[in-house]
């Protein structure tokens, strides 16, 4: 008689333990370490030093001011845009959506740099156009309102996308039914559209707030020159002036950020809870109100907004990269490609940064895919409480501000590894592990939705054909989820390649990333080189996004952050 094996499901026995171990190592361990350190230092009374310093309270106040201000701007921009794009007969919707979401994909330090190059008395762009303010006038962006404005612009797409997801589920016939029931456009908006939009609006605002609290690039470029500190930049400056109490301070400051961010996330969860409106009727065409003569006005208005938040800063960035020094106008005599030559062929710092970022992003994107495919398969085939816990554990490091995660990894790896007695602190490997942890959720999402969308009978048919787990993976499952896997790799690469927040805390000589290199070049006054490097990063971001656009029709819905 053949031996019966106890197999209750399609997964091999090693799969669940494997995934659990990976998730614990990448997520559970650093989070637990941070929590432990924060609590221990607080209980031992070392907190008093930190929380009696006025600088701490000023940073907390600055953080809240800039995040709340940024959120208000994000909600205004994102909501206006979302309502007009989803509900009206506005033309060029896909182009405008792509352009509007682009700022989200551009690294924040690049956005900040571009805006600095666009404004102020020394702006090469304004000089070229002859409209620069007189020398000696202040740079208006080096202020709390400047930080808030840029946070608002950077995170407006988050509100836009959250709202669009809610409104996109409103099919045209829903609105038409309300019109036939006798409602004129205003009651339709009030009774049908607004109830659908409110959860998305709250959720979007909460995400924008959390992202604002955790943002490092913008306050670092705009705030540090003016000695305006928010919590993430305060942590950064404490680490730079390394002292005896640094670890204690850093872990406590991180806990403060984590608590503020956690409150924001809780609001988001609450807003979305029990309000899943995704399956209303047949998802046909979106509702369309006719704007009539206002259509041209709306379109012109949007073009103007996009000009100021996207075209002008990028033009300023390009201009700055083409002039020899900051403050020189661009013309036929001054134009030069020296900055590009410098960063691409001469400066070893930027070359190393390129090599490091490409290595880190490539390894993270491809390495994570292996874990991601196995995890996504497990989550799809074994839904339940455990799957929810695993999903949350994977999502927390991504939802947490990068600076908090970086501190967690510093605490975890500051001492040499047990048993091996090797320290990876200060090497590129600590950045790599932190990236694995931080971008697991980014990598997982496309693959997980592809697996969930897959008809389980496709795999069952392969089982009955006699194919074991490895064989099914290779022949059936992986080919079927390949587009989503491709999207996962490109998305992670895109985000990791220009990442600054995590690497800003974890880099040391020789392991700087592109994000760090841009920041350092700007910090040391080489704004032309910083701009040239930023231009290259923006070009790379746009190219990768276009690559994803081309994949889009093979992907499950909701995989690309800028499409619904």
């Amino acid at each position: 008689m053949p031996r019966l094996s106890i197999i209750r499901s399609s997964q091999p026995v090693w799969l669940l333990p494997f995934v659990v171990v990976i998730v614990c190592l990448l997520s559970g361990l650093p989070l637990a370490r941070l929590l432990y350190a924060g609590l221990r230092f607080s209980l031992q009374g070392k907190a008093t030093g930190l929380f009696t310093e006025p600088a701490t309270w000023i940073a907390i106040r600055n953080t809240l001011t800039t995040s709340v201000g940024g959120t208000a701007i994000s909600v205004f921009l994102g909501a206006t845009f979302a309502f007009v794009v989803t509900l009206t007969d506005f033309r060029g919707k896909s182009f405008f959506s792509f352009a509007f979401v682009l700022p989200m994909m551009i690294p924040p330090q690049v956005t900040a740099l571009a805006w600095v190059q666009m404004s102020g008395p020394a702006s090469p762009l304004l000089k070229t156009l002859g409209i620069a303010p007189p020398l000696g006038s202040p740079q208006p962006l080096y202020s709390l309102s400047g930080i808030a404005l840029l946070l608002g612009v950077q995170h407006a797409p988050l509100v836009f996308l959250a709202l669009k997801a809610g409104l996109g589920s409103l099919p045209r016939d829903g609105v038409e039914a309300a019109r036939l029931a006798g409602a004129s456009p205003l009651p339709v908006f009030r009774d049908i559209i607004l109830p659908l939009a409110v959860p998305g609006l709250i959720a979007g605002a909460a995400i924008a707030f959390v992202s604002g609290v955790g943002n490092f690039g913008i306050p670092a470029i705009l705030g540090i020159p003016a000695s305006i500190y928010v919590l993430p930049t305060l942590i950064y400056s404490r680490l730079s002036s390394f002292g005896a109490g640094t670890f204690a301070e850093m872990s406590q400051l991180s806990m403060v950020i984590a608590v503020i961010a956690g409150l924001g996330l809780a609001v988001q969860q609450w807003a979305l809870k029990g309000r899943d409106y995704r399956i209303i009727g047949l998802s046909g065409q979106n509702a369309a109100f006719s704007l009539g003569p206002f259509r041209l006005v709306a379109e012109t208005g949007f073009c103007l907004v996009l000009f100021f938040v996207l075209a002008a800063p990028l033009a300023a960035l390009v201009t700055s990269s083409l002039v020899p020094t900051y403050g020189v106008p661009l013309n036929l005599q001054t134009v030069s490609l020296d900055a590009y030559r410098e960063i691409l062929f001469r400066q070893s710092v930027t070359l190393t940064a390129f090599a490091n970022s490409l290595f880190l992003a490539g390894t993270t994107a491809c390495g994570l895919l292996l874990f991601t495919v196995l995890t996504a398969y497990l989550l799809a085939r074994r839904p339940g409480k455990l799957a929810n816990v695993i999903t949350s554990l994977i999502e927390i490091p991504y939802a947490l501000p990068g600076i908090v995660l970086a501190v967690a990894f510093i605490l975890l790896f500051a001492a040499p590894l047990p048993l091996l007695n090797v320290s990876i602190y200060g090497t590129i490997w600590i950045i790599l592990i932190a990236y694995f942890s931080s971008f697991f959720a980014v990598s997982l999402k496309p693959v997980a939705s592809a697996f969930l969308q897959l008809d389980p009978s496709l795999e069952e048919a392969a089982r009955l054909s006699g194919a074991g787990f490895g064989r099914r993976m290779r022949d059936i499952l992986v080919p079927l989820i390949a587009p989503a896997a491709g999207a996962s790799v490109i998305l992670v690469f895109l985000i990791a390649c220009s990442e600054l927040t995590v690497s800003a805390l974890l880099w040391s000589a020789g392991t700087q990333t592109l994000g760090v290199a841009i920041f350092n070049l700007d910090d040391s006054g080489s704004s032309d080189l910083a701009s040239a490097l930023s231009v290259l990063v923006v070009v790379m971001v746009i190219l990768l996004m276009l690559m994803l656009e081309m994949l889009a029709k093979h992907l499950p819905r909701g995989v690309l952050p800028w499409r619904n």
Binding site: L4, D455, S457, L458, E460, L464, S465, G466, P479, L480
Partner: protein, 340 residues
């Protein structure tokens, strides 16, 4: 090959109510068994346990001398040498028709000329040779169904399972596919188990029908047997058209009751009543019969379907060649009934 034995099979998903309860069934070698029942009766769970996708909570499944599953363990589906036609067909969209059909062979290490010959033969049976290089997306529903069938055929499996394979096809295609299934069964000689909620399909295709209700097996018999001599109210109500009358009949005597006895029972008022299944073809208008009221009269194409009501308020069905106005009283004779 050998007979498939389900032995006191039970499955509980932990919902409080067993999905399948104590089901014992023997499918003879080369038989074509239809598992018939309303949706949610557990028939698909039985099929999935036979395939190995679900593990029985209790009981065992045997194929000849081989134990496929019992309460403690289960042979994984990939080792069972079975094949299945899924309701969604489950064709792999990234493979051509030939690759889909040939995949079970590829897994078994067949390649080259042998692979090509066997795939071509399988496709010939379902008459799809010229579609070998197409992808499933380029086929119609019926063609996809036939590809799924060819994939079952190619490895000569011991048991072929069919999970409501005609549910997604239109009526015209259904008839054609039923013919293909019959041909396939005759040709392959495999034991086939066919899950359906459509009794017409079950009657037309199967050599045996097993009726299930709420996780339990109600009756197994040939189509003719189950139509003429159903066991119990549930089977009587599920299989075929008809109405169940509660009549006062004597305890002894045969289960097939004729007009005299039925007529007598209508006059009888006292005594325990017993359920009698009356098929509409046995209810005919006749001046010698009892008077029934015509509740409704629907035109069905080849005849009219009547809904009737007795003086006692019980419902009956009948067929009529001519239309009858609603509400009129008309005498009918009930030629025969079956004591459930």
């Amino acid at each position: 090959m050998a007979q498939l034995i389900l032995n006191h099979l039970s499955k509980d998903f932990g919902t409080g109510r067993a999905a399948v309860a104590d089901l014992s069934l023997t499918v003879r070698e080369g038989g074509f068994l239809a598992l018939l029942g309303p949706s949610g009766c557990g028939k698909t769970t039985v099929l999935r346990m036979i395939a190995g996708f679900e593990q029985p909570t209790d009981g065992s499944i045997l194929l000849g001398e081989r134990t496929l599953a019992d309460g403690s363990g289960s042979l994984p589906p990939e080792k069972r040498n079975m094949a299945m036609v899924f309701q969604s067909y489950a064709l792999w969209p990234h493979m051509t028709v030939a690759q889909n059909v040939g995949y079970p062979l590829k897994v078994r290490g067949v390649s080259g000329a042998a692979w090509e010959t066997r795939v071509r033969d399988a496709l010939a049976v379902v008459r799809l040779e010229e579609f070998a290089m197409r992808r499933p997306a380029g086929l119609s529903g019926g063609q996809r169904q036939r590809v799924a069938l060819a994939r079952c055929l190619v490895t000569s499996p011991d048991v072929v399972l069919l999970d409501e394979p005609l549910a997604n096809l239109d009526r015209h295609l259904k008839a054609a596919m039923e013919e293909t299934f019959r041909e396939f069964h005759a040709r392959s000689g495999a034991t086939m188990i066919y899950v359906t909620h459509d009794q017409g399909e079950a009657m037309a295709l199967a050599t045996d029908i097993a009726v299930m209700s709420e996780g339990r097996l109600m009756q197994v018999a040939s189509p003719q047997e189950i139509y003429a001599r159903p066991e119990g109210r549930i089977v009587g109500g599920l299989v075929g058209q008809g109405a169940i009358l509660d009549l006062t009949l004597p305890d002894h005597g045969s289960r097939l009751v004729f007009w005299q006895a039925i007529e007598a029972s209508f006059r009888q008022t006292a005594g325990p009543s017993r359920p009698v299944l009356v098929r509409p073809e046995h209810v005919v208008a006749d001046p010698l019969g009892i008077v029934l009221q015509v509740v409704s009269c629907l035109f069905e194409g080849e005849r009219f379907a009547l809904s009737l009501r007795t003086a006692g308020g019980q419902s009956l069905k009948a067929y009529s060649a001519t239309a009858m106005p609603c509400g009129i009283l008309q005498p009918f004779v009930i030629r025969q009934g079956w004591l459930l």
